[in-house]
């Protein structure tokens, strides 16, 4: 029954979206997201997926169109990268404030300029506070599985929030990896057809997208924040149910050799795979190194995170985006503030690395480790800049 095949990760993503039986797909091509949209349009053209594929004229319209279709009760999907996300920005915030449970795959790529088609996280960090649930996945299987999981979470009537699945451009999206496919009936069992709580239809007059006077605006924002925080247990539930069905269990933070670790790397996305190799090599040399992969970025899993790093002396947080003129990488800064009120807290070293497709090797991680443990690292550094 279970079928393991090798395929490009983008195609695994498209395959999963097809299995979600989405109703509307609207997207605009941008490297490295293109293969996903191309494949989805083929599915529709060949009758393998009964959906409206709308080849919009821009990303702004891609997301706007999905807002319309989702508001009318259709399971909707879009995907983009980098400049496409930047163009969508305005609507990204509106989507979450309207509580529309759609799913977007964001194939991470750096933001111009200079123009770069390569991978980092500057695109997603530009919408850090957009109010979507944000996940980072790191291999083909996780991409595939999270299509179902994301809709399951989003459409839960206790949640009703949009979800972004982040995965790294090229270094993941264009890899050929093995993935265990799921049978459509198993997916159906996990993800039943979408039952909108509210939908635009003449059977019921409904006003969506009102404007908020000062007397209600703060309350609306508080409610939105509470909704995002309250989604946390439902995210865990969706992962648990998927684990029971597939045998693959996911958690907000994934730990590798952290239990007795003195120095822990913190990563998002596929960089965790190489960092893991570095941790193994360090362990062989007798160093107490560990690795923590942050799978859930919003809502930030503070408790699970603090639990996981208990006892650590140093955290080396790898950020793949610069917060210009700020106190450190966006992830590191957040972790610092999360730990500030803890009595016992580790040193947090913010390392910016892997910008615009720059490789970060096992040796690089070892070097970061050495400088931190030798007390030579500064609190914030753009790592590996050539002189």
């Amino acid at each position: 029954m279970k079928k393991r095949v090798g395929m490009e990760v983008s195609f695994a993503a498209a395959e999963a979206v097809k299995l979600c039986n989405v109703d509307v797909v609207a997207a605009y091509p941008i490297t490295p997201q293109t293969h996903i949209v191309e494949r989805l349009s083929e599915y529709v053209a060949n009758g393998e997926l009964d959906a409206e594929f709308v080849p919009v004229e821009s990303e702004h319209s891609a997301l706007s169109l999905c807002v319309g279709s989702q508001a009318a009760g259709a399971r909707s999907f879009t995907c983009t990268s980098s400049q496409g996300l930047a163009l969508m920005n305005e609507i990204v915030y509106i989507t979450s404030s309207m509580r529309l449970p759609m799913v977007m795959m964001l194939v991470n790529r750096s933001l111009s300029g200079p123009l770069s088609i390569w991978n980092d996280h500057s695109d997603v960090m530009s919408i850090r506070d957009c109010g979507w649930i944000q996940l980072f996945v790191k291999n083909s299987q996780e991409v595939f599985d999270h299509a179902f999981i994301a809709y399951k979470i989003a459409e839960d009537h206790n949640v009703l929030l949009p979800v972004i699945i982040n995965f790294d451009g090229f270094i993941l999206s264009h890899m050929f990896e093995s993935v265990e496919l799921m049978e459509p009936d198993v997916v159906q069992q996990y993800l039943p057809p979408y039952e909108p709580k509210y939908a635009l239809h003449p059977d019921r007059a409904l006003t969506m997208g009102t404007y908020g006077m000062p007397a209600v605006f703060t309350e609306a924002k508080k409610a939105q924040d509470e909704a995002l925080l309250a989604s946390y247990p439902h995210i865990l539930e969706a992962w648990k149910a998927w684990g029971d069905l597939s045998g693959r269990h996911y958690h907000p933070v994934e730990e590798f050799l952290t239990k007795d670790a003195e120095t822990i790397f913190v990563t998002l996305g596929s960089f965790g795979e190489t960092a893991g190799e570095a941790v193994k090599a360090l362990r062989e040399k007798g160093h107490k190194a560990g690795l923590l992969h942050l799978r859930l970025w919003r809502p930030f899993p503070f408790d699970a995170f603090c639990q996981a790093i208990q006892g650590a002396r140093n955290l080396i947080v790898i950020d793949r985006a610069v917060s210009f003129g700020g106190p450190g990488g966006p992830v590191a800064s957040e972790i610092r503030s999360a730990l500030y009120n803890k009595e016992k807290r580790p040193g947090v070293y913010s390392m910016i690395a892997g910008l615009g497709g720059r490789d970060v090797t096992v040796r690089d991680y070892m070097q970061m480790f050495e400088s931190v443990t030798a007390g030579k690292a500064s609190a914030y550094e753009i790592f590996g800049v050539r002189g």
């Binding site: 109703d23 509307v24 609207a26 009964d50 959906a51 409206e52 709308v54 080849p55 919009v56 004229e57 821009s58 702004h60 319209s61 706007s64 169109l65 999905c66 807002v67 319309g68 279709s69 989702q70 508001a71 009318a72 009760g73 259709a74 909707s76 305005e90 609507i91 509106i94 309207m98 057809p193 635009l200 239809h201 003449p202 059977d203 019921r204 007059a205 409904l206 006003t207 969506m208 997208g209 009102t210 404007y211 908020g212 006077m213 209600v216 609306a220």
Partner: protein, 307 residues
């Protein structure tokens, strides 16, 4: 089409879908147009609105003037949102997830939300052939933000960003011809209208929504506040705009032009322009220039509808 006028009167509902109690200015021609359009559309409709006066006056949470399903998302994307609604209805009906009752999809925006910032989304939606009606409520400036010029502001008009100064006489560009841009997309139905000719307007909305593909109706919506006229003169100025040839009423059905409110002779343009505060600074040479271009436009339209 005289019969259609009779037909329109008889079938126009007493029901208000754009309910009274909204917050538009006194004598707002745009609110009047919205009201008439939705009477013509009836209840089986979903409307997607752009940001602008009509959105602001009708939807301050927790109030709403809308007796139909209505959504506002942003300023420049009403056409894309409407396209999404249309796509959703199509696929959900095909899959049997909702009833197959016929539902009309409408996008509405001001001139700014249409001819400027929303032009790309509108062009995309028309080109893709979504079956929907796009209604532009043209009050010839960005009224919601305080009467700034748009590319639909007429030549010579004073606005807060095309001020009539000692050197520059107000707006220095000619009004962008949006209906012609819509026609260039080869969509089945394009028309101009104004609430001062309500039956003509209602007919056009009904034709637009019945068209087999995208339809575009451009409605001149008199704005007493922005134009500087008395609030009880809205209807009069809408009529004058048509009678002077400044805003001709016509339709283009599958490429075929027809002037729907025709005149043997046009009224003098000054009667329309000079009583309005936004035009009162116009010097004779500017007036002469406007007169020339309006006459040219009218002739061109006459020629096309004779074809």
């Amino acid at each position: 089409m005289n019969d259609a006028n009779v037909y329109a009167v008889k079938t126009l509902t007493k029901k208000e879908y754009f309910a009274p109690g909204h917050r538009s200015c006194l004598g707002c021609g745009e609110a009047l147009a919205v009201r008439l359009v939705h009477k013509a559309l009836g209840r089986n409709v979903i409307t997607a609105s752009a940001t602008g006066c009509m959105e602001i006056v009708s939807s301050p949470f927790p109030l709403t003037s809308w007796e139909i399903p209505w959504i506002h998302v942003a300023f420049e994307n009403a056409a894309a949102v409407a396209g999404g609604i249309e796509a959703a209805l199509k696929v959900l009906q095909r899959k049997g997830k909702i009833s197959d009752k016929k539902v009309s999809v409408v996008a509405m925006a001001g001139d700014g939300g249409t001819v400027d910032i929303g032009l790309q989304a509108l062009s995309g939606a028309m080109e893709r052939g979504h079956k929907f009606l796009y209604v532009c409520y043209d009050n010839e400036a960005y009224m919601n933000t305080g009467v700034q010029r748009s590319s639909a502001t007429p030549f010579g008009a004073h606005t807060t960003t095309s001020p009539a100064g000692t050197v520059v006489p107000g707006q220095v560009t000619w009004k962008k011809n949006m209906p012609e841009i819509a026609v260039a997309h080869k969509i089945p139905y394009v028309a101009t209208a104004t609430p001062s000719y309500p039956l003509d307007l209602v007919n056009k909305i009904k034709k637009g929504i019945a068209a087999d593909g995208p339809a575009y109706v451009h409605i001149l919506s008199v704005c007493p506040t922005g134009w500087g006229i008395a609030s009880e003169e809205t209807i009069k100025f809408g009529r004058l705009a048509v009678q002077t040839g400044f805003f001709p009423l016509y339709e283009v059905e599958n490429g075929k032009y027809k002037i729907t409110v025709d005149f043997e002779e046009l009224m003098p343009l000054e009667q329309y322009l000079l009583p309005q505060r936004r035009f009162r600074h116009l010097a004779e040479d500017t007036l002469g220039y406007i007169r020339g271009r309006v006459a040219e436009q009218w002739e061109e339209l006459q020629k096309r509808s004779a074809e």
